[in-house]
Amino acid sequence: MFSPELAVNALIAGLLLGGFYAAVTIGISISFGILDIVNIAHPAFIILGSYIAYILNAQLGIDPIIAAIIALPAFYVLGAAIYQVYHVAFEMRGREALSGLAFFFGLLFITEVLLILVFGVDYRYVQASYVDQSINIGFINLPKRMLIPCLISILMFIALQLFLSRTFIGRAIMAVAQDQLALRLMAASPTRIKRIAFAISIATASLAGAFLIIIQPVEPSVGREYIGRVFAICVLGGLGSLPGTIIAAMLLGIAESFTSTFYGPSWAPAVSFGILLLTLAFRPAGLLGR
């Protein structure tokens, strides 16, 4: 049943969802968009982040977002290690296309199955004061479990955008995609720069994972639903463009929110893939692409 109230709430829910999707996608925007590394295992690392937030929350009572920040360095190191293997095994041999993709595909399933073996397939969730609260303004409903991830996600975007545009390493990361020779002339090793960038991309999975488990209960295979979403957003936003990513994330959030409000939640997963296929077919450079 269509009503203006329902539509406005769907729109706002979509925007909040989009903010969260932006956090989920930013890692892919860096690894796939800037570095051209097709890390399809990223959603699995996000679920890993969810479980780490869950353990710290359940065992020590730490707030999930604080827990994610504590885990950031570990994710950074994990990312650096994965890049090292990727670089030696595929980039140096020139086999990124087939073997590199298969490598991440393998990592995706190893991570997922390890989580299943350790935690089982039961849904897990976190405790925090704000999980069940919401702010009501007139008929508009703002659940805090959506609002807080969305706001922190936007902060994270601003921080990364500043890092990429203002610092030496950030600029070097943006340059690595375009001109490795120039980078070498600047006495920066492209491998080192790419390692840092990839490590950052994996580190974002820690926070995105915490957001995910605040928003909804998590089980190991939930990550697969996000593969299509993150790539849809990344491609729609234009590869490597952070502002594009956030706009595309909001659009997808709104599209999904309207779909589940008016057609039922079981149709929502198809929305992102539909958008992805349409983008690839008609505008592969993305919204903000040339």
């Binding site: 097709v38 390890l114 079981s266 296929l277």
Partner: protein
């Protein structure tokens, strides 16, 4: 060896396999054997696109499920013998493969891979919401107990899958030895140079996705009769997506032999593990093997054996 002769040899080998299975006379052998044969078809089909042209398809499960659900649909709509269903499945999944390819193959290879991941979820969402074929609850497909000539229906399913494996391997080998396979290899090596040498790359890629998709759909067509009760989660199962990539890569992607060896080794291993441990451990081991092979032995088992033979020959020669 000409393709016709290869086909005859494959038929003879298949007949021997069937004879041995009958001699053992244990239904489990037929059940497990069916699964391994199904993986031979899937791995070979994946390799026609992935191994020969270098385009990675993550959506094998989608094509497999497409075949399975086209059978469920026909079973309800107008029941027909399974060989006819296999042909129908081939046409439907071949066309979907062609459509997918047409939408994404003009772009970089990574986009195609991502789009195939997407296809699996879109199709699963459609099936879950389509009540005629059972929706999320699934659909019963009652299997007759017996069939003419053979008697035992499981034997019949096994024989069908054996036939599909022979067809898939013959198709793969024929392509390899034709100018088509030659064109596929130029795409894998360097698409720009291929175009400059007159190779119609887009058309060849579309041929590869269509053949590959059609064979995967054929592998899925008898599945509802094998399992008896088809749910979206079993048709779109993880193991199909993982195995159809892992088997060719672990076996070796350069020739038809690689997927065959990979499917037999991994398929049998998994049958063993599923019986003794659990199916999660199963996926874990396949995932680990996949990662280990792409990092350490990117040319697979066939490549390993070849390099050992080459080294032997080299050592035997006087320096």
């Amino acid at each position: 060896m000409r393709s016709g002769i290869f086909f005859l040899v494959a038929v003879v080998v298949a007949a021997i396999v069937f004879g041995c299975a009958l001699a053992i006379n244990n239904d489990y052998v037929f059940f497990a054997g069916y699964t391994v044969l199904q993986f031979i078809v899937l791995a070979t089909a994946w390799n026609i696109l992935g191994g020969y042209t270098g385009y990675v398809n993550f959506g094998s499960a989608a094509f497999f499920a497409l075949g399975a659900y086209s059978s469920v649909f026909m079973h309800k709509f107008y029941p027909m013998p399974i060989p006819v269903l296999i042909v129908i499945a081939a046409v439907i999944s071949g066309l979907v493969g062609l459509g997918m390819g047409y939408l994404t193959l003009r772009l970089r290879g990574a986009f195609f891979a991502i789009a195939t991941l997407a296809l699996a979820v879109v199709l699963q969402t459609l099936i879950v919401n389509w009540n005629y074929v059972g929706g999320s609850r699934g659909a019963y497909v009652v299997r007759p107990a017996t069939v003419a000539f053979l008697g035992n229906y499981v034997h019949y399913l096994f024989l069908l899958m054996l036939g599909l494996a022979v067809i898939a391997l013959t198709v793969a080998r024929t392509i390899e030895h034709s100018s088509l396979g030659y064109g596929f290899a130029t795409i894998r090596d360097d698409e720009l140079a291929a175009e400059a040498s007159g190779v119609p790359t887009l058309r060849l890629k579309l041929i590869a996705t269509t053949i590959s998709g059609a064979l995967m759909g054929m592998a899925g067509a008898p599945f509802p009769y094998y399992i008896g009760y088809l749910q979206p989660s079993s048709a779109f199962g993880l193991e199909y997506a993982v195995n159809s990539i892992a088997m060719p890569i672990i076996g070796g992607t350069a020739t038809w032999l690689g997927p065959l060896i990979g499917a037999i080794v991994l398929g049998s291993l998994q049958q063993y593990i599923t019986v003794t441990i659990s199916s999660s451990v199963n996926v874990l081991i396949v995932g680990l093997l996949l990662v280990i092979f792409v990092v350490i032995a990117p040319n697979g088992i066939v490549g390993l054996v070849q390099s050992i033979l080459r080294r032997r020959r080299y050592e035997r020669k006087p320096a």
